[in-house]
Amino acid sequence: MDANLLSSYIFAVVVLNVLLGLMAYMTYFERKVMAAMQDRVGPNRTGPVGLLQPIADGIKLLTKEDIIPKHADRRIFLLAPLLSFVLAPVAAAVIPFGDSINVFGHEVNLYVADINVAALYFLAIGSMGVYGIILGGYASANRYSLLGGLRSAAQVISYEIILGLSLIGVFILSGSLSLVEIVSQQSETLNLGPLQLPNWFILSQPLAFVIFLIAAVAETNRAPFDLPEAETELIGGFHTEYSGFRFSFFFLAEYISMIIISLFAATIFLGGTDGPIRDGVWWLAIKAAIFLFFYIWLRTTVPRFRYDQLMGLAWKVLLPLVLINILLTGFIRLWGLGML
Amino acid sequence: MSSWLFLIPLLPLVAAVINFLIGRWILRDSAQWIATLAVAASFILSIPVMLEIMADEQPLSQHLYTWIPAGDFDIPVTLFVDQLTAIMLLVVTGVGLLVHIYSIGYMHGDPGTYRFFSYLPLFVFSMLMLVMANNFLVLFVFWEAVGLCSFLLIGFWFRRRSAAAAAKKAFIVNRVGDFGFGIGILLIFVTYGTIEYAAVFDQVGDATQTTITVIALLLFTGAIGKSAQLPLFVWLPDAMEGPTPVSALIHAATMVTAGIFVMARAYPIVYESSDAMMVIAIIGAATAFIAATIAVTQYDIKKVVAYSTVSQLGFMAFALGTGAWIAAIFHLVTHAFFKGLLFLGAGSVIHGMHEEQDMRKMGGLKKYMPITYWTFLIGAAANAGIIPLAGFWSKDEIILGTWLYDHTVIMVVAFVTAFFTSLYMFRAVFMTFHGEERFDPEKVHPHESPKVMTIPLIVLAFFALTAGFMGFPPEDGWIHHFLIHSFPGLSLPDVAFSTIAVFAGISTLIALSGLYIQYLAYVKKSISPAGIAGLLGPLYKLAANRWYLDEIYDVLIVRPLVAFSMFLWRFVDAQVIDGTVNGVAALVTYTSSQWRRAQTGLIANYVVMIALGAVIIIGAFMLFGSNLFD
C-alpha cells in the first residue's frame, strides 16, 4: 500500500476525532453564547466555568435506557440514527485544511482526498443526510415524528437545490469543482487600482453567499428552519421517540453537519486557509467559528418560520434569485473571456 | 439603369400591399394617391429605360434572386428588358397611370376604393413582371397573376350577382386557355431542358417540326384565352361588369394584349412553324370578323367597345399569323391608346348618364359633354381607321401585311371587317352623341365629367391622334427599326409607295363609307337600321345573339359537365367513396370491438406482454444472429 494512501487514512482518523471533540465543545459554546444573549449564566457547575459539562452530558446520554417503541419498525428504528451519524462527518474528507506538511520525512497532505468532483461529493453526502431523519421519523410509529420526517424530506430537497445552485456561480468563476483548486485560486490577490483585496468568492459572489448561508441553515435543520423537530408543534419531531445514545447520534450528527458546512462555507467563500498573515489551518478555524457563532445567533434571535413560508421562500424567492445570479455570472464570465 | 429595374414593378406592388393591409382603416381615400404615385413613379422610371434601350440597342437585365434552386435546375427571377418589353413597359405604366388618375374621379365615393386601388397597382405589378420575365415559368406565374387581378376587378362589385358571375366566367374560360399554355411550357421544358427564353430560342431548331408546331399552338391556346380569340372570347364582353377604368386598362389596353405579347415573345418558336402561323391567322381573322359583326348589333355602349376590342385583337392575331409581327405590336400600342380612350370615354358617358349604358336611352349628348364627345370621336375615328389617326397606320399595315405575305382570303376578310369596324364605331358615336335626346330629362341630367377624368381623356386622345406617326412612313418608320431588334431574322419588307397608297386609299374609302352609312342612318334618318336588320333577317339575328356561342357552349360543355358532376356526386362520391370510407370505418369498428377483449385494463398484464415481447425478440436475436436488425 503506498504511503500517500496511508497518510490519507491517518489524516482521516485525525480529522474525525477532532471533529467529534469539537462537536462536544460546540454544545458548550452554544449554550454559553445563548446564555449570554439571553442574559443568563449558562452551564457553570461541572468543572471550571462548566467546561466539563459536555463530557457529563455525553456520559449521561450513553448510560440512559435505550427505549424502542412497541409498534416501531425495529430495524429501521435502529438504522436511522446510525445513518445520520455515519454520513455526517464523511463530507469532511474533501475539505482542505492546508497544503501539506512534512511529518517524519513524509509529505502528508492536509486533506483526505482531492477529488475532481469534491463539491458535488459534498452535496451528495449532504443529500444523503435526509435519510436518517425521514427514516427515523417514519420508524417511530408516531404521527409527530412522521410529520417531522415528511417536512424534513420536502425541506431538504428544496433547499438542496438552492444550495447547489448557489455554488454554481463560484464554479463558473473558478472553473473547477475541486475544493483544493478553489482554495488555491482564492489565495491570489485581486488588484483594484490602489486597493488590494483577497480573491475571495464572497466578494465576487455576495448574493450567492447570502443564499448559500440561508440554504445551509435550512439544510442542517437549524433554527429558524428547524421545522422537522419543531418542539412547539411536533414535540421534537423525528426524534421524539429516541432517547439515550440513539438520540445522541442525531444530536451529534446535527452538530457535525453544522461544523462541516461552516468549514465548507469558509472554504468556498472565504478563502479557506488563506489569511492576511501566515496562511494556515487557524484561519480556517476562525472563519468556521464565525459561521458557527452566526448559527447560534440566528437561533436565539429569529423565530421559526411557518411551513408554507419556508417552502415559499425556497421556491419563490431564493430560486429565482439564484438563477439570476447564475445568469449574470455566466454573462460576466463570458464577457471576461472575450466571448461576448 | 439596369440596377434600378426592380423598382419599376416593385413600387406598384408596395402600393398594393400597403393599400390592402391598412387601406380600409387608416388610408381610406388617400389609398388612391399612394397607388397613383407609385404607378407614376414606375412610368417615370420606365422612360430612362426606354431611352437607354434606344441608345444602346442592347437588352437590359437584372437578376433579383433564384426562386427555385433545385440541383442543376433553377428558376431565376431575372428582369429582362429588350425593345419589345420597353414598349410594353411604357404602354402599361403610361396607360396605367392615366387609368389610375381617371379612376380617382370615377371611383369617387365608392366604399371599396381602397380595395380598388389595391387591386389595380397589383395588376400593374403583375403585368410589368409578365413583360419583364426572362423565362417561361415566371411568365406563367404572372400570366396567372394578371388573370387573378382581372378576376378580382371584374368581380369588384361582388355583391352584384352578374358581376360575380362574369368574374367567374372570365376566370374559368381563361383557365381553359391557361391549361394549354401550361402544357406548352412543360413541353418546352421537356423538349429543350430549359425554360429561359434565350436558351430556348437558341436551340429552337433542334426539335422536330411537329413538336415546334405543337408548342406554338399550345402557347397560342393561352393567347386564345387571354386575348379573347375564338372560341374563348365569350368572357370579355361579360367582363364589362367591372368598373370602366378596369375595362380600359385590363380588357382593352394591357392584359388582353398579353397573349399577343407572348406570341411575339415566342417569335423564334412560332416563326419556325408555318402550320401554327396559319392556324393563328385563321383564328385571328375569324375572331376579328365575328366580333365585328356582333359589335354592329349591340346596344350597350360598353359591349360595343368590348366586341370592338375582340375584333381588334383578332386583327393583331392574324397579323402575327400572316407574319406581320411588327405591325401586330404596332397595332397593339396604338390600340392601347385609342381603345383605352374609348373605354374611358364610354365610362365618362356612363358616369354622366348616371350609370346608364344603353345607347337607345342616350343621344344628343354632344352639347352636354363636349370634351367627352370630341375625345370619343377621335378614339372612334382612330379605331375605324380614318387617316391620319393612329389606328389607320397600324391597321393599314396589317392589311398590307396580309397582301405582302400572300394571304388573299384573309385580306378580303380584313377589309370586310374594317368596314364593319367603321360601321359599329360611328354607330356608337352617332347613337350616343347625336340625334334626339332619348333619355328622360326629368330623371337624368347629363353632365360633363370632372377634370380628373377628362384630362386622361385628352392625353389619350392626343396619343390616339399622333401615335400612328411612330410607324410613318409605313413599313419604314421609327417603330419598325426599333422593334426589328426583338425579331432577329426578320427583315423589313421593301414596299413600293404605290402599293401603300393603294391600300391606304381602299382603307380610307371603306372607313369613310361606314361613316357615311351611319351618318345617314342615325343623323339624317334616311336609312332605317331596323329595316336593314329585317332585310338581313337570320344573319342579323345570328350577330345580335352573338352567334349563339354562349348557347352552344351551354349545350356542348356546360350541361354535359353538370350532368357528369351530378354523376360524380350522386354516385361516385356519395356511393363509392363514402361507401368505401364508411365501410372501412365499420370494418375497423367491428375488428376493434373484437380486439378490445384483449385489453384487460390491467397494467400488470400489459407489462407482462411487453416483457414477453422483449424476451422473444432477444431470443430470436440470439437464434438467428445479429444481422436480423441490420
Binding site: - | 385489453q599 407489462v607 416483457a611
Partner: protein, 102 residues
C-alpha cells in the same frame, strides 16, 4: 479474472435489469413497480458507463446523464400520477386500477 473485464459490468447490468423486470412483473404496489423501473434504468446506465469505460469514450456517460435527467422527469410525473391516483381511488394496488379498459 485478474483484471476488470467488460463481462463484469455486463453481468451486473443484466442482473440488475432482470431483477428490476421481475419486480415489475410480480409486485402489485405501484410505488414498488416504480422503484423497479428506476432500478432498470440504472442497470442500463451501468452498461452505458461500462462500455464508455471499455472503449475510452465519454458518449456512454453522456447518455447515462440524459437517462438520469429523464428519470428525474419521469419520477416527478409518475409520483404526481400516483398521488392523484391515491387521492381519487385510495389505493396503490395496480390491479385495482382498470380505467384503461374502456
Amino acid at each position: 479474472m485478474s483484471e476488470l473485464m467488460p463481462e463484469h459490468f455486463m453481468f451486473l447490468s443484466a442482473a440488475l435489469f432482470i431483477i428490476g423486470m421481475v419486480g415489475v412483473l410480480t409486485r402489485n404496489n405501484v410505488l414498488v413497480i416504480f422503484m423497479c423501473v428506476e432500478l432498470m434504468l440504472t442497470a442500463v446506465n451501468i452498461s452505458f458507463v461500462g462500455f464508455a469505460w471499455e472503449f475510452n469514450q465519454l458518449t456512454g456517460q453522456i447518455f447515462a446523464l440524459f437517462v438520469i435527467a429523464i428519470a428525474a422527469a419521469e419520477a416527478v410525473i409518475g409520483l404526481g400520477i400516483i398521488m392523484a391516483l391515491t387521492r381519487q381511488r385510495d389505493t396503490v394496488d395496480i390491479n385495482q386500477v382498470r380505467e384503461l379498459r374502456q
